[in-house]
Amino acid sequence: MSAAALRASGLGKRFGRAVALEGVDLELPAGASLAVLGPNGAGKSTLLRLIAGLARPTSGSLTVAGTPAHLPAARARVGFIGHASLLYPSLTARENLIFAARLQQVEGAGRRVEAWLEGAGLARAADLPVSHFSRGMAQRLAIARGLVHDPSLLLLDEPFSGLDPRAATRLAEQLASLHAAGRTLVLVTHDPKRAAQLSDRAIVLDAGRIVFESRDGEADAEELERAVLAASDSAA
């Protein structure tokens, strides 16, 4: 039996006395797409950063394809696209991608960078510093950066924030094609419509706990919105 793309059991994370996550159980098969919703401070970004191996759980276990998430072998499988771009403004688009590829131990980054830039629609801006980029261009580059090592699990933390409608639509299409190509997606978002559109599973977090869960696309945008509002009311 192959290991699940992602498995959390009794997962908890505390920052001092503050509880960010508690008792989270989750299993995601390879190729699935999970949306994580909830009010501000519910623990969505913490969950994503734990999966990315940027933080260690204080309780429970978390594995990526059977490997503990904080180990280098698990990080090699993960692509992380945060609400910050992870880019260096003084480096060009080309330099940012080559640097990311070297960090990810990708062979022949210099030869492959043109294809990555072309794929992101940034070939003509390849040698411009990222500080000159619009929010949409930076987001496309951030996504290309997260994909340089061809990760099987893609983590996205509010990737639509700050994008204009056209850029958001283009990003939604790109995520749908990545999912169709067999990648596992975990998408943190505040937008129930995007969650319903891009995911076949969804969870709603409140105060670090899962308060709503749907599988196989059984929850539509309205139901997800009601679940988020209920969580927000209880948080208030």
Binding site: L54, R56, L86, L103
Partner: protein, 221 residues
């Protein structure tokens, strides 16, 4: 190894384009040298020349504190530190890359400051230049290794500008002991004493190994 080189390249390229870290370090260390010049009575007398190694290393430490603080605060922009921490390698290589970059940038500041210091205090450093460079290189390696570790610790604290010196200065005692003694011996007799160099080598090795091993936990959120 490729991650070490990638981080070294990235830090040197970003510094070359902005030059803000090296400018701040140079301005500050040169101001410290000038303050010493005017604060000590009589200018370049024999007494002040006897204190020169200590004064020179004080200027170096101040410059290093400025540079080390900037080293990781630059990584906070766009959450770039997370981008580095996602690398699927032992995070000790990230530490070594940042240390190498800090060491190279500090080396440039030290070379310029050393030349100005020699002029201001009327010291003839030309005859001992290579051996002095060895001592400064060894002292700076200890300074940058433990400094890089604590800069990474301090960068996520509220008072990082204050936190770094508080954490770092007590641990710099063996580095400064070895470096100042070796520099004093070099300037007074023209020869390099073995004992302070040995102290620097042992301290550097200890700080590098310990920092390499614990850096994984330091990058954890």
């Amino acid at each position: 190894m490729s991650v070490l080189l990638a981080i070294l390249w990235k830090d040197l390229v970003t510094e070359w384009r902005s030059r803000d870290r090296i400018t701040a370090m140079l301005l500050f260390s040169l101001l410290v040298v000038m303050v010493f010049h005017f604060a000590l009575p009589g200018g370049a007398t024999r007494e002040t020349q006897a204190s020169a190694p200590g004064l020179l290393w004080i200027a170096y430490v101040f410059a290093a504190l400025l540079g080390l603080n900037r080293s990781f605060s630059l990584e906070l922009e766009n959450d770039a530190l997370a981008g580095i921490a996602l690398s699927p390698v032992d995070r000790g290589w990230i530490f070594l890359g940042k240390t190498a970059a800090n060491w190279a940038i500090l080396g440039v500041a030290q070379a310029v400051t050393g030349c100005v210091f020699a002029l201001v205090f009327d010291l003839d450093l030309a005859a001992v230049a290579f051996r002095l460079a060895l001592v400064v290189g060894l002292g700076s390696l200890g300074l940058c290794s433990v400094g890089t570790l604590f800069a990474a610790v301090a960068v996520r604290t509220r008072f990082r500008e204050v936190m770094l010196p508080l954490l770092l200065l007590p641990l710099l005692v063996p580095v400064l002991l070895g470096a100042v003694r070796a520099t004093t011996g070099l300037l007074e007799t023209g020869t390099l004493a073995f004992e302070p160099v040995q102290l620097l080598l042992v301290t550097d090795a200890t700080y590098l190994i310990v920092s390499y091993l614990v850096f994984d936990y330091v990058l954890d959120e």
